[in-house]
């Protein structure tokens, strides 16, 4: 066993040294690589902490009393209390947070569905079976995002007033669908463009109709993209404040509008607002976590292109 491993005394000296030097070199390179990796890991941690810090601060503030939340320097180790959460659920004002949360949920879910129903066929006709001048169409969609939102606010307010649609869920659903549609079409197009056209052609050779191809081939392949797009649309609709503040009043007001109601110019409010922000962010966080796998797939799918 051992005989073949004994090196020949003359011929093996140089290669052995070379190998040693080489080993040293590779181990040095590996050490360098490791050092670089650990530096990068440290950097990633620092950046991660910087991103998480405001949220941790928000959670901590929401658990402090108003007086402790307002001190400067911040009193990090003050006793914890759930008073601000009780306040959010109406202990001080008697106002229930459920109507705005339900309104936000209805508006965001339906607006997202409308966007999907319209953007997937549109993206199909811009990528898999591109219509003539499809790039002009894409650019047109993009231009609709170039007008500052606030410029459209007054005309929309007046139109909604004339149509008797102020303070209705339908108005907000239509608006949020329209706002998110261009982004959704752009996103869906980049996802659908990843699907090989040959697959679609093969399906049609086998006699599948357009709808069947859509259901059996395109939707399954594009599902990570669809999840990513829906989540973006849902988040945008859920978080929108400017239009909701102006166009809704007592019936269809959304969660962000309700959130602003905790701000006051006479007295302390930091803790209350933090508690409200956390509760209102929860649905989006939950949706994000639930869709995490698909989301990562979806985001990288678009990124490759």
């Amino acid at each position: 066993m051992s005989a073949p491993t004994i090196p020949a005394p003359t011929a093996s000296v140089a290669p052995a040294r070379r190998a040693r030097v080489g080993k040293r070199r590779t181990s040095e390179a590996a050490r360098k690589q490791r050092r670089r990796n650990s530096l990068l890991a440290l950097l990633a941690w620092v950046i991660g902490l910087i991103f998480v810090a405001p949220i941790v601060w928000m959670v901590l503030t929401s658990l402090h009393s108003e007086a402790n939340a307002a001190t400067n320097p911040p009193s990090l180790f003050a006793p914890l209390t759930l008073q601000s959460y009780a306040n959010f659920f109406g202990s001080a004002s008697g106002a229930s947070p459920w109507p705005p949360l339900i309104n936000s949920a209805i508006i965001s879910v339906l607006a997202t569905l409308v966007v999907l129903v319209l953007s997937i066929p549109a993206a199909y006709s811009l990528s898999i079976r591109p219509v003539r001048k499809w790039s002009d169409a894409m650019f047109f969609f993009l231009t609709t995002k170039m007008l500052p939102m606030v410029a459209g606010l007054l005309p929309i307010y007046l139109i909604a007033k004339a149509l008797g649609m102020l303070d209705t869920l339908g108005l907000m659903i239509i608006l949020y669908s329209a706002m998110n549609l261009p982004i959704a079409i752009w996103m869906m197009r980049s996802f659908l463009a990843e699907i090989p056209v040959e697959l679609v052609e093969a399906a049609s050779v086998d006699g599948a109709s357009l709808l069947l191809t859509f259901r059996r081939i395109i939707l399954p392949l594009a599902s990570p993209g669809i999840v990513a797009t829906s989540l973006i649309c849902f988040i945008f609709s859920w978080n929108e404040l400017l239009f909701a503040n102006v166009l809704t009043s007592t019936s269809s007001y959304t969660a962000p509008v309700f959130l602003t109601s905790f701000v006051t110019s006479e007295g302390l409010f930091l803790s209350k607002v933090c508690a409200a922000s956390i509760v209102i962010s929860l649905p989006v966080l939950i949706a994000g976590f639930a869709a995490q796998d698909k989301l990562v797939q979806g985001l990288s799918l678009g990124a490759v292109k």
Partner: protein, 463 residues
């Protein structure tokens, strides 16, 4: 292929159902329930919608509504509560468009003069003010006058009212052997501020608002301007900002706060100054009378140590401001009867008792009714300051706050819609002057130009 056709049909049907749902939803109101609705002739069974500023006493009212109003009258109330700046934006949009989304809104004596002239408000003279149970004569006169339109009709009823006064630390004064005159002049106050600055570690001589905002530093500054003989506009709408009176006052104010004022004065507003005085970081503070309740609250470390003096003066006899959050009814409201009932309750003589029962007399909205200042329970709980507040409000005169005639009412503001922008621009420059980023003279020069532009539009209207 029949199956294909059926599938197509199914898809088309599905789309049709979805569209129909959307169209149906378009007219549907949200989980907040349907909007305002009429009930019987006395308003019972109807729902009114109220747009309200988020101040602590309003939140108390919201909580008290069901037991004390809805159960007795059968009128439901739906509130939208917003912070002050959002509320003003929303109210002006709502009232100018007469959109009918709200029946009642909190407006102040800043809005009432031009809202009423523009015909956006329902007059309360015919019903609310005539109701003997409501007792209009009980309302403090300066407050009522400030909520009356130029046609002599009452357009809003006060929820609470305030003036301004000077707070000082009695214990610190005693330790230093100083006394505060009952009616101090600004020269005396400046002298005291100099003596008191840094007598205790971290203690400023005086706290004055420096934070930008027409409702922030411009409010106290304008009262100083008034008493030092200045004004924003003379009676013919000529801007007077770079003239003697205004310039003297602005230089005095900025120098006082720069030399003996609080730390970070350029960003300190009502809340910051209240914190400073509570935490022993200021010996004096000139601000709204509304702060007295917080300073004397049971958990306040300075309770019992605060003295109260009238707003400091110079050329006028008094200089305190006048402010009131009040209820006004939108002219386009379809529930005027129910809305009037709501105001009769919220501004009525019994509300103070109901609020006191739930939250104690110290938390009752003050500054609106003579009867409150005659109430023994209130006198007891507000013993330290109620007289000073009552006197301050009673001596305020929004029509004639300075040494010359004015073209529009208002003490700490000019009650024209343009003042919100003008005042906010000006406040930014004053704040910059306090921070040392610009000089007072340069700031006044630029404010003068802006003010004259506003004045010119009114000159044209006069012609």
């Amino acid at each position: 292929m029949p199956t294909m056709k059926r599938k197509h049909l199914r898809a088309v049907a599905g789309l049709a159902v979805a569209t129909a749902t959307l169209v149906a939803l378009a007219g549907c109101s949200g989980a907040g329930g349907s909007g305002g609705s009429g009930g019987s002739a006395d308003g019972s069974g109807s729902t009114i919608r109220v747009l309200m500023v988020n101040n602590p006493q309003m939140v108390d009212l919201q909580k008290l509504t069901n037991d004390n109003f809805t159960k007795k009258t059968g009128i439901k109330v739906k509130y939208t509560v917003l912070p002050e700046d959002s509320l003003r934006a929303k109210a002006s949009q709502e009232f100018s468009a007469q959109a009918g989304q709200y029946d009642v809104a909190t407006i102040s004596n800043y809005e009432v003069p031009f809202y009423s002239t523009n015909g956006w408000l329902l007059s309360l003279s015919d019903n609310v003010a005539k109701d003997s149970k409501f007792d209009q004569s009980d309302i403090l006169k300066p407050i009522q006058d400030a909520l009356t339109g130029s046609d002599g009709k009452v357009y809003a009823e006060p929820f609470y009212g305030e003036s301004s006064m000077l707070y000082y630390r009695k214990d610190v004064f005693a330790k230093q052997g100083l006394t505060m005159p009952a009616n101090p002049t600004w020269a005396q106050v400046a002298d005291l501020a100099k003596k008191l600055n840094d007598v205790e570690p971290g203690m400023a001589g005086i706290c004055l608002r420096g934070q930008p905002g027409w409702g922030q530093n411009i409010a106290p500054l304008t009262t100083v301007v008034n008493t030092m003989g200045g004004t924003w506009f003379d009676k013919n709408w000529n801007a007077e900002v770079d003239k003697d009176g205004f310039a003297t006052a602005a230089n005095f104010y900025v120098n006082l706060v720069k030399n003996y004022g609080e730390k970070g004065a350029a960003q300190a507003g009502y809340t910051e100054c209240l914190n400073d005085l509570t935490q022993g970081k200021a010996a004096m503070w000139y601000d709204a009378t509304a702060a007295a309740g917080s300073l004397e609250a049971s958990d306040s470390p300075v309770a019992g140590k605060i003295g109260y003096a009238a707003a400091p003066v110079d050329k006028t006899k008094n200089s305190g401001w006048l402010y009131s959050w009040a209820w006004g009814i939108e002219k386009a409201s379809k529930n005027a009867t129910a809305a009037e009932k709501f105001i009769e309750w919220a501004s009525g003589p019994d509300y103070a008792k109901q609020a006191a029962k739930a939250y104690g007399w110290a938390q009752v909205p003050p500054g609106t009714r003579t009867s409150l200042y005659e109430n023994a329970d209130y006198q007891k709980s507000a013993a330290a300051f109620y007289k000073q507040v009552e006197n301050a409000i009673k001596s305020a005169d929004p029509e004639n706050p300075g040494v010359q005639k004015r073209p529009a009412p208002g003490i700490q503001f000019v009650a024209i819609p343009e003042f919100a922008n003008l005042g906010t621009d000006a406040s930014q420059q004053i704040s910059d002057a306090i921070a040392g980023k610009t000089t007072v003279d340069a700031a006044l020069k630029s404010i003068q130009t802006e003010a004259q532009k506003v004045g010119d539009t009114y000159k044209k209207k006069q012609k």
